[in-house]
Amino acid sequence: MASKEIKLMAHLMRRAGFGASRGRLDELVEQGYDETVESMLSAIDRPTRITDNLIRRYHPEYSGMMGNQSPSGNWMYRMVSTDAPLREKVGLMWHGMFATGYSKLANGKVLHDQIRMFERHGMGSFKNLLMELSRDPAMIVWLDNSENHNGSVNENYGRELLELFSMGVGNYTEHDVKEAARAFTGWTIGNTEYMTLKSARDSVWPYGRLSFHFEYKEHDHDNGEKEFLGHKGNLNGEDIVDIICKQPATAAFLSRHMYSFFVADEPPVPEWPYKEPRDPEAIAALSKVYFDSDYNVEEMLRFLFKSEFFKSEQARYQRVKSPAELVAGVLRLTGEFDRPKVDMNPTNLQSTYMGQWLLNPPSVEGWHWGTEWIDSGALVERVNFASERLGNIESPGVQTLIDRILSDSNGGLNAEELVERALDELSVGDISDKTRSALVEFAEVQVNQSDSGNAGPEQVANVLKLVGATPEFQRA
């Protein structure tokens, strides 16, 4: 049985990362909870530069430069191999919140660049992040700010900036939307003509190492007087972001996203105006840190991971794993991608089959999370993927799991012990009696079938497989 400390550490690692092996959890408990939080917050992925070069030379299909699979395959490899998993988790949060997709852009490089931008700026100041986002070429094309001209306003970016990226619906007027859009006129793409020509001529290999780039065109900017959320003047995009960041609505909206992503699933955003948060006090406390720290995301995360509402039993297993989290978590355990390998892209497609095509969300609203991840087709994919990989005796990580389970046995595990150890190794706790008894029955048959009367590697693998197929494994 795992101790209280192990269970808490496993919870932290499932949320701030993609889970951790039981062996790693022991080390982290030794290190201490607060220290682990600190090391997660400060970690930077050092070997990245080397693996980037390896990938670019030997696996250009997921270098991030080419078509639609390339940037998402690249990101999945990063999630699976990184020493700084929190950075990738935060990137996933921003990708969900600032959802930008290939379906419209038809350009992999520019999306790859956006995700790397989240990695660089995603844990700093939220204000800076919104500024980077407003200058991000993928976002500008995605939400038509390149069509937002002085005298001919396109409201798309102005609206979503308020509605989906910062304050949430109900906290501003239609007039504010128009004025925000005016303030962002002239924030555009510098090489549109070239890129349009390229994409009209080619389809498969159009982009090489080129990408859209941002340009501020002063002559196309509306320098007239504007009024936004009560502030008057010749406001530009920077002023809009500045005013947005000062709003309590922004603090609450961002805090609720963070709570939902790291603590417990909230309903999808469209329901927020009508449903109270699960824990309004937690949202208030996070909002306070937001203002006290000058909108610093890292400070908010530090507070969150050390808070009672995060550590509490009530928060355990209260999130449904997103497909990307599930795939990355399983692959980190199996150790299949300890270095760049050729089958990264087909493996990353598993996340698409489960309903999350990274870098191609269904719309700017992003994916609906929680139990909405799980429809019957997606569940079959999730179960089949996890059970196949976790039961594959050839994988180095699975061998380690089996060795650890068997080395504990002291002359043979009975069915209950075997199930207990498998659940523990895969960090699946809080399991219902129904699931447990079904697993134990399966394990009994496995143990009885083995020649020695004791579970061997194959039987352990079969039990790991079934743990990967449980309803409980779907949660984080």
Binding site: S103, S203, T352, S363, T371, V383, E441, K465, A469
Partner: protein
């Protein structure tokens, strides 16, 4: 014609990559066609003539038999306003039936919801392929994705039959009803039970099936055989979806395009014959579409992305013939070097929904589109 027991089904085949409409339904008497397609034109000597001015690609012989039987409708000049030449965006527009903004549900997902609002049957809609195309996606609508019907189901990687049966049995127990679970786990386990039941039903389809038709070994033929098996098993599936890929013929078009259409025409003809053999030809309509057509002028060995495509609707219930007009190839009538669309693709959706599936198309498409008189009543 359609009995209560055999409700109308729709089979949608997506041609991925942008099918070259001009080399599919060829304006072989038009001088502009020959001038523009110096490298890859088809001539009066090899096209399969339809009406003295248009002919099918020579590889489409089996489709010609459907045409002769009056079961093949060809819709010309298909597209939508402000055509997009990106595969992804254009496919997305066809999937969501929304060309102005990014929509988040698919037209067939909405159709399945209309057919089975309480999601009582988890296999009202089935995709034959991996991963759900956006066309089939809609919130709360269960759709099975079947890669291969023979192996479809839970934990197909377990080689030992006894072990797999036991594993699937344990799965059913783990996902069975349990009041002590919290709301999240209950939702997950209910969905799991649906997946288990769907897989269990689909498992029986191949065993019940026998037919004199021998489908070819290529994926599109195998998918249509799988669809036939499920349709004939009468398990309540109304919407079937599959894809045939490879139509992005920038190079080597004559050879590649002919191969694709040979595969597809043969498979479709076999499929219709299979249904006929089982007395079920009156219960299914097949629709074939692609995200866009291709440039009028060739590029020396193939064609680049264009607009103005061609779609097909076929089956016993379909009134065969040409629908709409072939877009003019006159340079003054071209749209940036492409055929200009003159039929909104949503008119085909509306036709099929209203006249075949018995669904109010406005519920699905949010707007009225002009229909064709295409389905026998």
């Amino acid at each position: 014609m359609v009995t209560a027991q055999h409700k109308p089904s729709l089979i949608v085949i997506q041609l991925s990559g942008g099918n070259d409409a001009m080399n599919t339904v060829v304006p072989y008497t038009n001088g502009i066609y020959h001038d523009s397609r110096k490298a890859i034109h088809l001539t009066e000597h090899n096209v399969i003539d339809l009406n003295g001015t248009l002919g099918l690609s020579p590889s489409m012989g089996p489709m010609k038999s459907l045409w002769d039987a009056g079961k093949l409708a060809i819709v010309q000049g298909v597209g939508y306003p402000q055509p997009n030449r990106s595969h992804f965006r254009s496919m997305d527009i066809w999937h969501t039936a929304e060309s102005d903004h990014i929509a988040n549900s698919g037209w067939l997902g909405r159709t399945i919801r209309e057919l089975d609002p309480e999601a009582k049957n988890v296999i009202t809609g089935i995709n034959f392929g991996r991963g759900l195309p956006r066309a089939l996606h809609a919130k709360g609508v269960p759709v099975a994705s079947v890669g291969n019907l023979e192996t479809y189901g839970l934990m197909p990687d377990i080689a030992d039959r006894m072990t797999r049966e036991m594993a699937v049995d344990v799965f059913a127990r783990m996902y069975g009803p349990d009041d002590t679970r919290d709301a999240m786990l209950q939702a997950i386990s209910e969905t799991g039970m649906g997946a288990y039941l769907g897989a269990d039903i689909l498992r029986t389809a191949p065993a019940q099936y026998s037919s004199s038709i021998e489908y070819e070994g290529v994926p599109i033929a195998q998918s249509l055989r799988d669809i036939s098996q499920v349709l004939l098993a009468d398990v309540g599936t109304r919407v079937f979806y599959t894809q045939h890929a490879g139509y992005d013929t920038h190079a080597g078009e004559l050879e590649n395009h002919a191969k694709l259409w040979h595969e597809l025409s043969t498979a479709v003809n076999d499929f219709i014959a299979d249904l006929e053999e089982h007395g079920r030809g009156d219960h299914a309509v097949v629709m074939i579409f692609s995200e866009f057509g291709r440039r009028i002028r060739d590029n020396g060995s193939g064609t680049d992305h264009g607009s103005g495509g061609v779609a097909f609707v076929l089956g016993n219930p379909v009134k065969g013939g040409l629908y709409g007009e072939y877009p003019s190839l006159d340079p003054s009538e071209q749209l940036e070097g492409d055929m200009k669309f003159n039929n909104d693709f949503r008119g085909i959706y509306a036709t099929v929904l209203d006249q075949w599936m018995g669904i109010n198309p406005q519920e699905i498409l949010n707007k009225n589109y002009e229909q064709f008189d295409m389905i026998r009543r």
